[in-house]
Symmetry: C2
Subunit: 384 residues, 2 copies
């Protein structure tokens, strides 16, 4: 049976070249890609993975090769990187607002087969319509609707009116609606992923039907993140799902019962640089390496630390906790009062939230065909 690079490193048959770093086991990632693709395709649903997790054209191409319809990005700068990496069908699932951004999006549209933009306000849609007209282009757009996350997305009571107004604007072709219904991050968690997914799909399907009865040709109904995506697809009520994190997995997903620890395709490695006392030790990575965007002690999911240390047996170390950090210092404490760590030792850790962990690395180490090679995270830090 194939061994993961994490196992080989534990057995000293492979070595981490520098720390702190992220290592990806490509075979595990490919397995995750294929499992999601096959399951979603079996429902007659399209898969348009969000690249926010890997931020690397290489992995987007793997997702497309497995059968993905296209990809999803959050920012035009991410989409530009993906297009340069050979991706031809891109949905920027974020309200396209701001002249500088619209200009870049219109330029990008000329270079790819299909670019889908997002709107959630009349002001935003009107500005996009004007700029598209000036550029002699027509933009395919989708309307973002809010299904409970209370971030971007028009609220449900205003969908019909706004969709009608957008459809009436020149140079825009309103072809779909989309949503993101968070399970966890917005203070309104649902313990039952399946029930949440069914609700998400029914809301979206109902809105699409309602829009169609008003004469709006809504062809695409897009929903579903990693926790809900497959269940959303299984309802048969949507045409597309957009999970992202499934490719690598992280500790948060295991807490949401969406991934087994064996499915997690990434590890953080960090070196013990200091052991001043028996009860604590310091890693060479702090807040610049281990993201703090998932607060530790906030229900519903509680985490023992900002990353999960893994022991020599491949299982979470029940003694060590990473609960205090500065930029370059990760302070590991021992529940039993003795870390047992020595200076120079390299620790394996599972990230709590892989997307923000990858965003902090200029490059990751990718293990494939027995070789660890460095791969730049080309779309990291793309904020525009």
């Amino acid at each position: 049976m194939r061994k993961t690079v994490f196992e080989l490193i534990r057995e000293h048959k492979a070595a981490v070249q520098e720390t702190p770093c992220i290592v990806v086991d490509t075979e595990t990632a490919k397995k995750n890609i294929c499992r999601m693709q096959e399951a979603v395709s079996a429902c007659g649903c399209k898969l348009r993975p969000h690249i926010k997790t890997h931020k690397i054209p290489y992995f987007a191409r793997l997702q497309l090769a497995a059968g993905a319809e296209g990809i999803t990005c959050a920012k035009v700068s991410e989409a530009e990187v993906m297009a340069a990496g050979g991706v031809e069908d891109i949905f920027i699932a974020y309200p396209m607002v701001g002249e500088f951004r619209i200009h870049r999006a219109l330029e990008l549209q000329k270079r790819v087969k299909r670019l889908i933009l997002a709107v959630d306000s009349l002001e935003g849609a009107a500005a996009l319509s004007r700029s598209a007209g000036e550029a002699g282009l027509t933009c395919e757009v989708r309307l973002e609707v809010d299904t409970g996350a209370r971030r971007t997305g028009v609220t449900r009571g205003h969908v019909l009116e706004l969709a009608g107004q957008i459809a009436a604007l020149p140079h825009l072709n309103l072809t779909g609606i989309y949503t993101f219904k968070s399970l966890v991050l917005h203070g309104c968690p649902t313990e039952d992923n399946k029930a949440a997914a069914v609700e998400e799909a029914e809301l979206m399907s109902g809105m699409a039907a309602s829009l169609r009865t008003r004469g709006l040709p809504i062809r695409e109904v897009s929903a579903g993140s990693t926790p809900t995506g497959l269940q959303v697809a299984r309802t048969g009520l949507v045409t597309e799902v957009r999970p992202g994190t499934y490719i690598f997995g992280d500790w948060m997903l295991t807490k949401e019962n969406c991934a087994a620890v064996e499915d997690i395709a990434v590890r953080l490695y960090a070196m013990v640089v200091s052991t001043p006392a028996p009860d604590y030790a310091v890693l060479d990575g702090g807040t610049k390496t281990f993201p703090m965007d998932i607060p530790l002690d906030t229900p519903p999911f509680l985490y023992p630390g900002y990353a999960i240390p893994i022991g020599g047996d491949g299982k979470p170390d029940e003694n060590l906790q990473l609960r205090r950090m500065n930029e370059e210092h990760g302070i590991l404490t021992a529940k039993n009062g003795r870390t047992g760590l020595r200076v120079g030792q390299v620790l394996e850790l599972i990230p709590i939230h892989v997307c923000t962990a990858v965003n902090m690395q200029n490059s990751v180490f990718v293990f494939e065909d027995g070789v660890l090679r460095r791969m730049p995270v080309e779309a990291r830090g793309m904020l525009v």
Copy 2:
């Protein structure tokens, strides 16, 4: 009187080119540089600023031109960037552990006038000694001692023994001791900066004296961050201080009474992309733009949000709060139930912690001589 770029932007006489972004008012930064330099120099103390805040050789050169002795970095990869940018005297104030790192440090030493490395364990020092010997070099090193932060740094009871062991190693030249005594971040805040600074200086001075009586020629006693640096210098008990954040300032420093709002040389700008309801609006930056390393509701300093929105009058907006984020979404809520924001509006915000905010930007916009120009954050994401 000179206007800051922030005032010019408020008055529509300058414009932000893209969002989310960071803008630096260079004149304010220069004022901060000179004020600290003059005050520290007046005490007969050397200033070795930590570049973790700006991460840009240009600002390091301004600090050196103002009279700084050299600079401080945390990582060898940061030091490499600064050396390439013309800096010749660098202290890497972080235990030099790991063969890959030691190798790079020794290579760097050949290229600069003075490189000072740090040790805090016999294992680390012995490995450095061996590698230096193999490279035919002698390394100037300082011993990090813990004065209460409980992160890196040998604990006080072990200083004498360890310093003696390190001094006995070949190819190492132990010339100093250093410490970082946090005021805020470690759960042991001190409300009186001056008292904390005096304690820090007395501890370090006492240890240095003790080491000298054992025949160890400790020439450099280095301490002091931005909150304590100047007070530490004024004791006359140390030879060098290493503040970092003072160059730009942030909201945390104002809470520590170490900077006035007018001294803060940076702003974050973000665009409102969505206003789905009167009581909330969404900014085009989330956790990839606004760091979360300062938890909001943790004593002693409480923050109203992950950044402080500034109103048209240049004062903190008492109504708007940024308390909920995803990677690309910053959700602003209104205390009075009405944000009053419109789609496309650009908001000015003060960062809570500027160092981690700068680390997330590939480049910042620097305002100098009436022009806003883009400057890469060359040492961002340098983790090794």
